[in-house]
Amino acid sequence: MKNIVQFKRVTKEFVNQEVKVKVLKGIDFDIKEGEILLVIGSSGAGKSTILNILGGLDTPTDGEVIVENQNISNYKEKQLSEFRAKKVGIIFQSYNLIPNLTALENVIFGSEVKTGTLDAREILGKVGLGDKCDKFPATLSGGEQQRVAIARAVAKNPLMILCDEPTGALDYETSKAALKLLEDLNKELNKTIILVTHNLALSPMADRILTVKSGKVESIEANTTKKSVAELEW
């Protein structure tokens, strides 16, 4: 499988009130096309920071991030937003739907930035919201909203889907359904999925697991005993 992303000696410093905090201290890893990569680590380890840099939401202080042979680490703002539009779908713990658009419209809206997108209604059907297309986010439950957010990321048909604790606010059943959705997507469309989580019980669903500790990569391991989400319990 080919590498679509390479992190090379990526560091990140935040400057807060003249105090420099080094959050990432030289991160090296790569992401293979079509894999599910699980990112784990304790709170404050730097997982979200890695994901934000990968998603083009933030830039590294030093080092290189190569996505499909392009070094995005020194992209200008305009190129970055182009990158976000074309290459990534992002799902956060907070769903970040546009309150004034219906579920369907939110999904379509997310795809307006790019061509070669999937049918919004069909994807919403897949996440089990076929009958709620015309509802506004505020009238949907948290799980439903998260599924809309997932559908939005998926329908765009990006190179990779980044999830930062997507199930953090969901109950067990809903979490499972949401993860199942991502898994199906990975299987059916061969989408690359990067999943940040605290839940170690999810490890079996991943192809590889990246462990981050205090801004460094502690380990990156292949999972030899892959299980489907349906088989997992926690």
């Binding site: 937003s81 182009e82 976000r84 970040n96 004034n100 658009l101 809206f109 930035v113 009238t139 939005r152």
Partner: protein, 790 residues
């Protein structure tokens, strides 16, 4: 939890908004306090000035009168004081000094000494300060002036001003001061006998000043004085009450107009400011729903939360009102008085902070701010904590009208849908923003219209109503070596090449329980070549033979309709206070004075003796106005010849002080509008910062993100402008109606270009306001703004 600290942090966080709200309040307070201070200042000043120097209530002129003649006055009711004086003119070739004698113990029209010492010896003179300044005169200078052709030399010992000459209009010229060639002087009475020896003029008094007891009807008093030493005495010429005395009445008219303007306009300013505060507060509180919910969940008492948010609006209101109020009351009157001082001489007037005006402004601002804040957080506070922690629901299921058309709606881009729903799902909020824009546009239109209307009233008066080329004013009487002869205008020979029309003008007074209006009855031959009377539709009206045409304003003020009887009292002393009445035959459009028209026959049938002291002239091509002026130069019966152009420019001059005021209002309206529109933009973007961050995350470019806000602001502006134009026209009418005075009423005129400029400015401001939107979009930190769910 320390709420004060939260308050301060909140304020710092939304400082942009805080600044704009404060700015709006500052502007509102600035204009409110500035204009009302100026008006109060002028009012107070003139009252004090008149009081301190004891302005006369009545002036009466005689060809000569002795102290013996006035004995009878001592028994008359209503007279507090009277003084006799001597008045004559001294000239050089270019300059004229009107000179009064004064007694050292004078009690009426006392001199306000500016520099030097009041004259004690003969031929020492006190000069009006404006004349001194315009002519570069120093104390101790010797002036050589002629009296009746004989040169006399004066020594300047004092510079003075006098309340009877707050404006010094030359008697032989246009209607505005010309300080370089016309001044007022006062000499000690001891000068008169010596002057008489040199020049042969009479040593007798020719003027009496009266101070009436308070609450005396001046017109009644003048009649009774006339009975005593007036009409039977051959030397009596005429008398004025101060209401007709030019210096006094002009200034009072101006002050009145000023007063009217100074409250209508600023009140609107203030209301717009209050509305803005409300909108802004509402949005701040809406974005803090969750925090309010949390505070409530934590058990913070409702009262404390309310106080917390009241603090939010009270701070900018107090601060803004105080700063605006104080700056306004120092700065604006200064500028306005400067303009006023071109026409009026008000020695020693200076601006000061009028706390009795500023403090109420602050209190009103605080009250409005508190009401705004209270109204805006009342609803949330009464919700359950759980409900307010949840973000507000967009009214679910309630779709906008446009969505009915599935085909069209489906084709719109998501951006457009966001914009449309933003506006139409929050109709009330959109409406308030619109009202802000509407108010701004309306204010600007009104300001510009004021300017247009002033110009139009002059143009209409001089181009449509007055058809003559000039007027010849005859003197009421001529005197030769002390012998007075009343003028018979018909006996005065006129030059070849002019058409003439003699006009009699009779002063009148009309009053009801609340008010009194002065005007003149103009007895016109039905001669349209000289004077066209028009109605509100600009149709020409014929002068009736059996009644009067009255002005629109008189008809409004005294509820007179066509067919009613109108009753007026004649104020010219020769008519002895007679009251006449007649039918109102038509209502005419007039802007500059309150005139009643009728034919001379109609008046003569009432047994009134007419004195046509004005003659309209039309000039044929063989002769110029200058020739005509030269012709009459040596005719003693002719007082002055004034061309229509001169009349027009003098009125234009007269409206200068108003123009300054209007200019200031236009600037104010423009600034306020900018603050309002800017604020609306800033609020909009603040409120939608999560949408903004989400769009950025989704990969929308900066321009596309910005366009969502820009289109929304633009649409609101379009709606605001559409509503603002009719509102502006209504406001214009209201402002014009309230600011009309007897001297000037404003036609409802606004140029298309003024409307276009006002609208264009609103759009311009909206586009300008997009700059902070862009900046904010650039600055927004996606990772941070997505962390918080609010």
């Amino acid at each position: 939890m320390n709420l004060l600290r939260k308050l301060i942090r909140d304020i710092i966080k939304s400082k942009g908004q805080f600044i704009t709200i404060t700015l709006v309040v500052v502007l509102g307070a600035l204009f409110y306090s500035g204009l009302s201070s100026a008006s109060v200042l002028l009012d107070d000043y003139t009252k004090e000035y008149y009081d301190e120097y004891n302005l006369a209530d009545i002036w009466m002129y005689y060809s000569n009168i002795t102290e013996e003649d006035t004995k009878g006055l001592d028994t008359l009711e209503g007279i507090q004081d009277y003084e006799l004086r001597f008045t004559y003119q001294s000239r050089t070739d270019e300059k004229t000094l009107k000179i009064h004698s004064f007694a050292e113990d004078a009690k009426i029209n006392k001199l306000h000494l500016i520099e030097g010492e009041l004259p004690v010896n003969p031929f020492e003179i006190a000069l009006d300060y404006e004349f001194v300044l315009a002519n570069g005169i120093s104390l101790g200078d010797e002036l050589k002036y002629k009296v009746d052709g004989i040169e006399v030399s004066y020594k300047v010992t004092a510079f003075i001003e006098n309340p009877e000459y707050v404006t010094k209009i030359p008697e032989d010229g246009n209607n505005f001061p010309e300080h370089d060639r016309y001044g007022i002087g006062y000499v000690n009475y001891s000068t008169i006998p010596e002057l008489s020896v040199i020049t042969g003029i009479s040593v007798e008094y020719d003027e009496i000043l009266f101070k009436a007891d308070t609450d005396t009807d001046l017109n009644d008093l003048i009649s009774s004085i006339e009975k005593e030493i007036g009409r039977s005495n051959d030397g009596y010429l005429f008398g004025y009450t101060k209401n007709l005395y030019p210096g006094y009445s002009m200034l009072q008219g101006d002050i009145e107009q000023f007063k009217n303007l100074s409250y209508v306009f600023p009140v609107i300013f203030f209301l717009v400011a209050a509305l803005m505060t409300y909108i802004a507060m509402k949005r701040i509180i809406d974005t803090q729903r969750k925090q309010i919910g949390i505070m409530k969940a934590l058990g913070v008492k409702k009262g404390r939360i309310t106080r917390h948010y009241l603090g939010f609006s009270i701070i900018p209101c107090v601060f803004g009102a105080a700063v605006g109020g104080i700056i306004g009351s120092v700065l604006l009157p200064d500028v306005l008085l400067d303009v006023y001082s071109e026409t009026y001489d008000l020695p020693g007037i200076h601006t000061r902070v009028i706390w009795s005006l500023v403090i109420p402004v602050i209190l009103i601002a605080v009250l409005l701010g508190m009401i705004a804040a209270y109204l805006s957080c009342r609803k949330i506070l009464n919700e359950r904590a759980a409900a307010s922690m949840r973000p507000r629901l967009p009214k679910a299921g309630k779709r906008i009208l446009l969505e009915r058309s599935k085909g069209l709606w489906g084709r719109l881009s998501g951006k457009t849908k966001i914009v449309l729903r933003n506006i139409f799902c929050n109709k009330r909020r959109a409406l308030m923003s619109c009202v802000g824009v509407m108010g701004s546009v309306a204010l600007m239109i009104t300001g510009f219209a004021m300017n247009d209307s002033t110009k139009a009233l002059i143009d209409r008066t001089y181009d449509e109503i007055y058809q003559y080329d000039g007027i010849v004013n005859f003197s009421y009487f001529t005197s030769e070596k002390g012998k007075v002869k009343f003028t018979d205008p018909y006996s005065v020979a006129n030059p070849e090449g002019i058409e003439t029309s003699y006009v009699s003008t009779l002063g009148f007074e009309i009053k009801d329980d609340e008010k009194t209006t002065f005007g003149s009855i103009v007895a016109l031959q039905d001669n349209h070549d000289f004077y066209r009377i028009i109605d509100s539709e600009a149709n020409e009206l014929a002068v009736p033979n059996d009644g009067f045409i009255v002005s629109q304003r008189l008809s409004d003020l005294y509820d007179l309709a066509v067919g009613d009887d109108i009753k007026v009292k004649l104020t010219d002393s020769i008519y002895g206070g007679e009251t006449i009445s007649g039918k109102v035959k038509a209502i005419s459009e007039q802007y500059l004075s309150q005139e009643i028209y009728c034919t001379p026959d109609f008046l003569e049938n009432m047994d009134l003796e007419l004195k046509p002291l004005t003659m309209y002239i039309k000039v044929s091509s063989d002769i110029t106005l200058n020739d005509i002026k030269d012709f009459y130069d040596d005719v003693p019966e002719v007082d002055s010849v004034i061309s229509k152009a001169e009349q027009k420019s003098s009125v234009e001059n007269y409206t200068k002080s108003m123009a300054a005021l209007v200019g200031m209002m236009i600037i104010g309206a423009m600034l306020l509008s900018f603050a309002v529109i800017y604020n609306i933009s800033v609020i909009n973007i603040m409120e939608r910062s999560s949408t903004l961050a989400t769009m950025k995350v989704l990969g929308f470019g900066r321009k596309e993100v910005a366009s969502v806000f820009e289109i929304e602001n633009l649409l609101l502006t379009v709606l605001g402008v559409i509503g603002g134009v009719p509102l502006g026209l209504l406001l214009m009418k209201a402002v014009f109606d309230t600011s009309a005075t007897d001297d000037m009423s404003f036609p409802y005129v606004v140029k298309i270009s003024s409307i276009v400029i006002s609208c264009a400015l609103a759009f311009g401001y909206t586009i300008l306001s997009d700059i902070p939107v862009r900046r904010k979009i650039k600055k927004v930190n996606m990772t941070e703004s997505l962390k918080e769910t609010e």
